[in-house]
């Protein structure tokens, strides 16, 4: 998800092509082509410009609705609604063939990964592994990160593993899901933390962990744009 304001222009995008199964957008205003995954203009008058990333999450609807009861949801367009995908579209897509493959470390092209770029490094986390582990404490380059699975067992968020005022990477651990809204505790402040990454108790109460952008993607696509990526649990 990207902002549309760049180089003093407000752009309107169309899906206008494909590059190794990652789509290309064309803006109406200049006719430049932009790569979806990177936000980089790859051709046209704005070539070399980059869109600014907008922080986003992929969550289950119930989880989001509980967090944002006043939020709004994109309405179906009646003319096209009959052609919309089933809700398990990403599972169906796992069977689609890929045109580029990077079969290293036992990875398959359509393996779903969570990709993080930080501190000049990139790292892929197998989605199924993260969901199984529920809490992943790891490093991306020099950045200490936390991947937290929501109470729904499918939604995942990533944070920098730093609490303001606490030296070093705090030691978080996951709580049994018996207290609504609470997922984690940390040893340094003794606080309880929510899926939004905010302390609900303890000396850090009221502070939130800094979010770190994370992309849910297929392995072939992530690896194509992150040739030096490492893989959690496989390349350490």
């Amino acid at each position: 998800m990207w902002t549309r304001d760049v180089a003093g222009l407000r752009l309107t995008f169309h899906l206008a092509g494909i590059n190794n199964q990652n789509f290309l957008m064309r803006d109406e205003e200049t006719g430049s082509y932009w790569q979806q995954i990177s936000g980089l203009a790859v051709s046209g008058p704005l070539k070399g410009q980059r869109l600014t990333l907008v922080e986003s999450d992929e969550l289950l609807f119930a989880t989001w609705k509980a967090e944002e009861p006043a939020g709004t949801v994109l309405k179906d367009v009646p003319a096209f609604a009959g052609d919309y995908a089933p809700k398990d579209w990403d599972v169906h897509m796992k069977r689609a063939r890929t045109v580029i493959n990077f079969p290293e470390h036992g990875m398959k092209g359509r393996d779903l990964i969570l990709g993080i770029q930080a501190a000049g490094a990139s790292r892929a986390f197998l989605y199924d592994q993260v969901v199984k582990d529920k809490l992943v404490k790891d490093r991306v380059g020099t950045e200490s990160v936390l991947l937290v699975v929501g109470a729904d067992g499918q939604s995942v968020r990533a944070f920098k593993n730093r609490i303001p005022g606490v030296a070093g990477a705090p030691d978080f651990y996951r709580l049994a899901a018996n207290k609504p809204g609470v997922l984690l505790m940390d040893a340094a402040t003794g606080g309880e933390w929510s899926f939004q990454g905010c302390a609900l108790s303890g000396s850090a109460k009221g502070t939130c962990l800094e979010r770190i952008p994370m992309l849910k993607d297929y392995w072939f696509d992530w690896r194509n744009y992150n040739p030096n990526t490492t893989i959690y649990g496989k390349t350490d």
Partner: protein, 168 residues
């Protein structure tokens, strides 16, 4: 023996058509060939295809203009009806390619949204386990169901005062 000047002119005009037809066809067909689904795109061929895409409206209009001028000229120097009809057909093909050069097949196939409409979270009919892409800017929280995003792929939106494009 002196060559027939009209015959020489006719030959040159036929060459103009062939060049116009070939240039227009390449300008339209090459990007379609390179940028098509389920085919790997190399960096160089993709870059060339995108440059061709950018300039093909101008290229094909120039070709169509040249082909039309050649037709008018050819009509004067060619009396045989069959050749005249072929010349008309050739010019029409170049003109059609000039129209086709203005069409992006992907933009016809995929229906991005420019004016998305939204409903309150408690008013929409979504299953609790449906996946949504969510964003929050200031106090405005939005959710884009993957079920519809995997069809539209691109949604040009305003969240508060921020212009964003949601992609999937």
């Amino acid at each position: 023996m002196t060559p027939d000047p009209k015959r020489r002119t006719r030959r040159r005009l036929k060459l103009v058509w062939l060049l116009c037809l070939a240039a227009s066809f390449l300008a339209v067909a090459y990007p379609i060939y390179v940028i098509r689904p389920f085919r790997a795109q190399g960096p160089l061929e993709l870059a060339v295809a995108l440059v061709v895409t950018r300039f093909r409206p101008a290229i094909t209009v120039l070709c169509a203009g040249a082909a039309l001028a050649a037709l008018v000229w050819y009509w004067r120097v060619q009396k045989r009806i069959v050749w005249r009809l072929l010349a008309v057909l050739g010019t029409a093909c170049v003109a059609l390619l000039a129209v086709a050069a203005r069409v992006n097949i992907y933009e016809l196939m995929f229906h991005h949204l420019d004016h998305p409409e939204f409903a309150a979270a408690d008013k929409v009919k979504l299953d609790n386990d449906e996946k949504v892409i969510v964003v929050k800017i200031g106090d405005a929280a939005r959710a884009y169901p993957i079920r519809s995003m995997s069809y539209h792929h691109v949604v040009n939106d305003m969240v508060g005062q921020t212009a964003i494009v949601a992609t999937y």
